[in-house]
Amino acid sequence: MKVYKICDVKIAIDTNKEIDFLKGFEDVSPFDLKVDFIADKVLLENRIREVLSNYLPHHNGFLLHSAGLLIDDMAFLLCGGTGSGKTHFVRLYEELSMGDEIMGVRKIGDKFWAYSTPFGGEFPAKNNIKAEIEKVIILQKNKRPEKLKKDKALWEILKNVIIFKNDKITSQKLLDILKEFIEVVDVYEGTPFVIP
């Protein structure tokens, strides 16, 4: 049994196989959640994602399909579908990367924090780090970033939340925390940086 910490959630995994994609996420404290033994790495990764996506809404959080960049100790989350450029930006600013595929988000106190996750991506996070979220950018090519109206922002974020089949209570908690998220965090749409 090994215990890992992802998004400040302790997950015990009962497996004898080496789980290299969780490197950097080890923790030794008692655990909250248990993931069943699954030998296949892809299935195991998927199972942990599913467990977390259903667990986090009950603990003021969610998983967001996004890349994360750590700039001046603040997290910038880049959302967008395949081909939107998430990985491209992480490749350009690899030293700032918190991951290029899935970020955890949780509310602690009155602030929202981004968590790196081991789920890859071309550039899965190498370290288990968290940072307060500065802003979210919905990637759109050749467009100067514009702040989205809150209702549009909520829809765009919702489209990028990792949702597995769950129950009404989990879905309701997810919508509740997303509403709070949108009220606190600004969401922009456009191209965030000048590409060299």
């Binding site: 109206k149 209702d151 949702i163 089949k165 009404k168 879905s171 309701q172 919508l175 509403k179 949108i182």
Partner: protein, 97 residues
């Protein structure tokens, strides 16, 4: 196909119980957990959503819409039926027994 549901003015409509929703500004965001689908209602859809907070007949919904929007009764009835059919199809609303 449920697309051509026969909704009469006396058909009573209610919100489905197994959905999660949240109103934000003038829109309603809905998750149907059975299929993990996301839905967003526009301003008019949100108004209809509010009207059916308690089960309502189609005719009652149309009446409310006529009070608030500049539209003919025929057009309002047609639009309400089409919208409600769509919500039923997506599992967001149901016909009350």
């Amino acid at each position: 196909m449920k697309e051509h549901l026969s909704l009469s003015p006396d058909t009573v409509i209610k919100r489905s119980e197994n959905i999660a929703w949240q109103k934000f500004e003038d829109k309603v965001f809905i998750i149907t957990p059975d299929d993990s689908m996301l839905h967003m209602l526009n301003e008019t859809g949100t108004r209809i959503w509010e009207i059916i907070e308690k089960p309502k007949k189609i005719s009652e919904i149309v009446e409310e819409i006529l009070k608030e929007y500049d539209v003919t009764k025929e057009k309002a009835e047609q639009s309400v039926k089409r919208f409600i059919s769509e919500l039923i199809k997506k599992g967001i609303c149901e016909i009350s027994a």
